[in-house]
Amino acid sequence: MFAHIFMYRLKCLLRDRETIFWTLIFPLLLAVFFNMAFSNLNNGETFKAIDIAVVDNEQYQEDQYFRSALNEVSQGYDRLFNLVVVSKDKAEQLLNDNLIAGYIVVETPLKLVVNKSGMNQSIIKNFLDNYIQTVSAVNSILTVNPSRQQELFNDLGNRRQYVKEVPGTKAEPNNVLLYFYTLIAMACFYGGFFGMREITDTQPNISPLAARINTAPVHKLKLFVYSMSASLLIHIVEMLVMLMFLRFAIRIDFGTKTGYVLLTTIVGSIAGNTFGAFISAIVKKSENIKVGILICVSMAGSFLAGMMYQNMKYIVAQKIPILSYLNPINLLTDAFYCLYYYDGFLRYTVNIGILLIFVIAFCLGIYFIIRRRKYASL
């Protein structure tokens, strides 16, 4: 009997284009749109070498220390500057055309010419200040103690860091991940469409089809569980397709804990399916109203989890922290976030634990509603 119901349920659900659209195609389309919208968001986090020019005058050619210092920071993969050596007129033209952030004129004192203030200009100025300061210090030391020239140059080559940078995580900072994590959480809860349909097709007070099924010699709860298994299988496969799409097509980083990412997705899918079934069982209104409620709750949960505005997640966490724990979409989002950023599992476990409590609550609610065998009205 299980195989019979399960296989036919798979056929039914896989041919239900509307549900497949909402549970698979729609989240994938959103992922593509997110990718298009957020593709430049991370560029702000990546340092790009600054285009500068230096005026090719006599002093520049004579000052081998400055030339050497400037060339040193303008070479290699992690260089500070993209340097061009040009005439003063050419440098002026490049600056006017906004092709360089500024140009340096080697004279006494060193001169930096910029046409606006900004981060890049500050970095160039900082470099020049640092150079002037070092040259001044070297001159002073050599004036007082010329015999220690070699020792001084050795020291200059081995600058010590007195502050050590200790990363909180091995993960790279990423501004867009949270958006995609909320999208996965939302897609998990769109599995509610499957759960909703299971109730519709089981409750005789909702559909004539369910009334016919209830006259068959099959235990209602068994029928529901067999059908729900098919729903869950389809939705979990859909979610795996989505994860692979995000990972390999959009190149979203889920960190290194792949097994836990899959586990979280499966728990999310179960939560979404049972949530939809719960809504359908508890709301005694038309199918359209139930779908409306499912979409509204999922979207509101996604919004509060930061899907439309990333900082919303932190605002909620600060102002109404309880809401963070009562929003299952936020719990799922946060679980993915924890897996990516943190090495420890405490916060992740709390998120998944609360989510499982939600699942149990939904299942109990469904059980108490659908265990009824007779209805007051059909």
């Binding site: 019979h4 056929k11 009334a211 016919r212 010699p217 065998r373 007779k374 007051a376 009205s377």
Partner: protein
């Protein structure tokens, strides 16, 4: 008894949907439940099937109390709902196979039964069609096939011909008679008295949740005083002549409709009523065209008992 219902009461708030309804269905008969819309036919069926709670009464099916857990009883019941109840995502064949599979687990037997059901409802050409591609009549036939494929001993058909064209309706009615001939007991609900009259061996007439009459169609017709309805196409008749006509023996009522010029005369049971009326018309020199006589219908039974038309 296949079904025994005793003193069944079902209320929806203040509305009494079934008012101490009692009925019994015998093995091998086509039992008709006739009544206007809202008379309680579907409610009675849903109570019998243990889908609906009821306030009072007893229901036995196959001589055992019917409960939602009576799976052994349910195994022998086939139900054809008023609304078409099939999966739109499954083909004709898959739908029949799915519902049959809920009753029959032996694969070879199931396949045989499904093939027979398809042949029975003549949907062989449409087995790969999805329900949305079927016409209303074909859809109703699919609905029936899903309900009867497992060869149940008892088949309950709740208004299976609503919204069906006359050709499909006749085919459905012939099919029901054939199912009965093959051994199934049929419970057939309808508000179409012609259908019930055509196929049912015993009939209960429902009104406002009460069984107002029960018996074979002849027994039901014998319950009322109306014996004959005589219709005369008449081109002019005076009030005096109408009054005189009313005074003839056995005549119950006389009505003349000026717009269609039809004179409707209802008479009690008795011999030569038509001859008496004809003699009167000739004697009075009333001009007339067509003239015909009809025996009472179930609608007349309903009309005489309740004072209203079955189609109201």
């Amino acid at each position: 008894m296949i079904i025994k219902v005793k003193n069944l009461v079902k209320r929806y708030g203040d509305l009494v949907a079934l008012d101490h309804l009692s009925l019994s269905v015998r093995e091998g008969e086509i039992f008709g439940l006739l009544g206007p819309n809202g008379s309680g036919k579907t409610t009675a069926i849903n109570c019998i099937l243990s889908l609906l709670k009821y306030d009072k009464g007893e229901i036995e099916v196959f001589d055992q109390p019917m409960t939602p857990e009576s799976y052994e009883i349910k195994r022998h019941i086939g139900i054809v709902m008023q609304n078409v109840a099939v999966y739109n995502e499954l083909t004709v064949y898959e739908n029949i196979d799915y519902f049959c599979g809920l009753y029959v687990q032996d694969k070879a037997l199931k396949k045989k039964l499904v093939d027979e059901a398809i042949e029975f409802v003549e949907l062989g050409e449409y087995i790969k069609f999805y329900p949305k591609k079927l016409s209303g009549g074909l859809l109703r036939r699919l609905n029936i096939a899903c309900g009867i494929a497992h060869k149940p001993r008892l088949i309950i058909l709740d208004e299976p011909t609503v919204g069906v064209d006359p050709q499909s309706r006749n085919r459905i009615l012939e099919g029901i008679v054939e199912l009965n001939r093959q051994g199934a007991t049929i419970v057939y609900t309808s508000h179409y008295m012609e259908e019930v009259e055509q196929i049912c061996s015993r009939i209960v007439i429902l009104d406002k949740g009460r069984a107002i009459a029960a018996g074979t169609k002849d027994e039901l017709k014998a319950m009322i005083s109306l014996g004959e309805k005589i219709t005369v196409e008449s081109y002019g008749i005076s009030q005096e002549q109408l009054s005189a006509l009313k005074k003839l023996p056995n005549i119950v009522s006389v009505e003349y409709n000026n717009s269609n010029r039809l004179l409707l005369i209802k008479s009690k049971k008795g011999e030569n009523n038509l001859e008496t009326v004809l003699d009167f018309i000739k004697k009075e020199g009333i001009q007339f065209g067509k003239i015909y006589s009809e025996l009472p219908t179930l609608n007349d039974v309903f009309l005489e008992i309740t004072g209203k038309d079955l189609r109201d």
